[in-house]
Subunit: 427 residues, 2 copies
């Protein structure tokens, strides 16, 4: 397809999604659950075809010498198919947010005014070569009453098109048209440029993938984007912290897994407890192979305690999301210094305080401007499943609409509902 063909193809995809969005918006919860379960059954029944299509994708990628982690994310197995099937069933079991009516109050004019939760309309998902996202994203959008346009990584195209067939079979079983979930059939990059600049057809874009992809999409999109940029997460160990709790949480927040966005990247310790907390904690880190990049005060404390192998933190370290066994550590003089550091270098993602001082805890959660703030718990909890959302379509570092983990509710909005008995406005 040339550029003009792609533009015209994407216009068609968009118009179909917009039309389908009206049908899925009014579908009952039972019908949507029936479709989700039929999709699961269709995947179960198409295992051989799915594995064959995926083998084509994997063979092409291996021929291009992609790295093993990439191949691993692309590859489908019976276990990953089981995961998709379970995922669909789990989403079917979640409560339906659509149609919820809240806060109905009578006004002096006589009208009753409240809010009604409704789908956003058409959701565009742009993601890398991970076929499981095709099913996860489709399931959440379907359950929340939205039509979906999916654009996965080009290396997964055969897998995604075969998964689309399963989704369409499931939708058909519930009497819903295939346009409710469309997988873009071209791997041309112009399709993405078109998708993110059709506000008449697309209500929101959710990019899932690396920071550079998301930054590029945000810069070019005219459709609103639910963005997930940096996760430079901090823990501040306050003067009144329970030392044993601080060590346990700080160990977990850094070392339980290194690559998630909610892993701690910078540890801030109040000077009053630094010599109690840091030596034991840093011995744990070093035993686990975590490189420590420290301020001069931290270095002095650790050196006195007999630790070595420390790296001096540079200015750049405080604003780096390592996603690796590296931790920057700063000893601070006060809660204020900790909050100033987080404001200056943080990414408004997830930050925690370890303290037994109630007023410091309350100041921290109110004043630290992050999507998730925690008191006496590991930053690793900032996650849709841990928060009880059932599943998440992504994590937002934006302030408008949805912040932090975004579940079904983040794929809906609230309209105003007015119940009258013939009232008119007189002034």
């Amino acid at each position: 397809m040339d550029i003009a063909d792609i533009q015209s193809y994407m216009q068609t995809v968009g118009a179909r999604a917009r039309a389908a969005s009206r049908l899925i918006a009014r579908a009952s919860t039972a019908l949507k659950n029936q479709a989700l379960q039929a999709c699961a059954a269709a995947i179960d029944g198409a295992r051989a075809d799915l594995l064959a299509a995926n083998a084509q994708d994997v063979a092409a990628v291996l021929a291009n010498h992609q790295d093993p982690a990439f191949v691993d994310r692309l590859k489908l197995t019976h276990t990953t198919l089981d995961g998709m099937i379970q995922g669909l069933e789990q989403v079917a079991a979640l409560p339906d947010p659509v149609g919820q009516i809240t806060d109905i109050n009578r006004r002096p004019s006589g009208i009753q005014v409240g809010k009604m939760r409704v789908p956003l309309g058409v959701v565009g998902i742009i993601y890398e070569s991970r076929p499981n996202v095709t099913i996860d994203a489709a399931a959440l959008c379907l359950k929340s009453g939205n039509a979906t346009i999916l654009r996965g990584g080009s290396e997964a195209i055969h897998s995604n098109l075969m998964l689309a067939q399963c989704l369409h079979k499931g939708l058909a079983a519930a009497g819903l048209p295939p346009d409710v979930v469309q997988v873009i059939e071209t791997t041309h990059r112009a399709a993405v440029s078109q998708l993110i600049t059709m506000p008449q057809y697309v209500d929101v874009i959710v990019p899932r993938g690396g920071k550079s992809l998301i930054a590029k999409i945000s810069a070019e999109a005219t459709v609103p984007v639910i963005k997930h940029l940096d996760g430079i997460c901090h823990i501040f160990v306050d003067a009144s912290a329970d030392i044993e709790m601080a060590i346990r949480i700080c160990d977990n927040a850094k070392t339980q897994r290194y690559s998630p966005c909610n892993t701690m990247e910078t540890l801030l310790v109040h000077a009053a407890v630094a010599s109690e907390v840091l030596p034991s904690l840093c011995r744990i880190y070093q035993a686990k192979g975590v490189e420590l990049r420290v301020c001069s005060q931290t270095r002095a404390i650790l050196t006195t305690a007999g630790l070595s192998g420390l790296v001096d933190a540079l200015q750049a370290d405080w604003k780096t999301e390592y996603l690796a066994p590296i931790l920057s550590i700063k000893t601070v003089a006060s809660l204020e210094e900790a909050m100033d550091h987080i404001e200056k270098f943080g990414s408004h993602h997830t930050d925690a305080i370890i303290t037994n001082n109630h007023s410091n805890a309350m100041r921290f959660v109110r004043e630290v401007d992050s999507a998730t703030v925690l008191i006496n718990a590991s930053t690793r909890f900032a996650d849709g499943f841990e928060f009880g959302l059932g599943a998440e379509i992504g994590i937002s570092t934006d302030k408008l609409h949805a912040r932090g983990p975004v579940g079904l509710e983040g794929l809906t909005s609230q309209k105003w509902l007015v119940l009258g008995q013939g009232e008119i406005r007189t002034s």
Copy 2:
């Protein structure tokens, strides 16, 4: 100032607003109310200076032969100053949305998870030459804990700078820095371009004014914009409508005032009741001088009933926001045809159904994708004051974040709050 000076000036304004946003975000409700009341007192004490500054603006505009409505909006009198003072006192009396903690639930991991309402940060307001907006907008942003950057129409610059002095005096009385509310001191257009492309300093832009201004800002902004575009509002009179109620509401929705965005622009009437509703209703409209642009079926009904002076509706009429004594009318065969018409030609602003059929009412409010949907009430109720918001910063035709009238809550967002007792993540 040349362009480089303006860019540097706006960077300074932005950085100051960002710093001030941290102070106002943590200010107590009492302190914010004290500041609002001190601003009111400062305006009261500076009446002579305000009227003199405004007289300068008015003289310049009169010399340029601006139309009387423009001058009317610009001009300050003791009555408009009284209105500003009352507005500040009313906002002081509203409940403070900041700090509200909701939905705290305990999770299987032991953590308690909920949401906390916080200010957005820095709000930029771009508006026309109406000095009262300076005070209204500043009051709402201050109460909701946001720092504000105000850019009013250049013709009101002397009035706005004098109002800024009053605001700064009020802020100082409460111990708050003047950077909490800044009025941009240059009238150069480049200041607007800069303001809407500084996401590092500005969290949201609220443009207030004509459609072309808002469309231009939305197209160029990299900061999120709370937009208010067309208000093409419909009423659908269903087959089961109470005829007398339908006539009363349709009269009110069109003729109570012609220029507001929530005034009805298109009337849709079910064919089953068209000959009962339309003749009496259209006689009222014609008596009030409303021009009627009608479909052929409506024309036949009205002509049979002896009405004349009708205009044939063109395709363009269905998508026009008249803001004038003109109404387009279409007779439709069903609820579905009415909803299809609204989807095709409407602007997702405000739409109403007049019906006594419960399931039709429920289908209409669920399926019509508008910011406000009403049953048996005039579209004119779609308004922040009528909805009980106390005041509104604007009306949003967007789907994300805030829809419809936006009050204090729309100037805040919710972060996730986690209360732990030392929990760590184990899987």
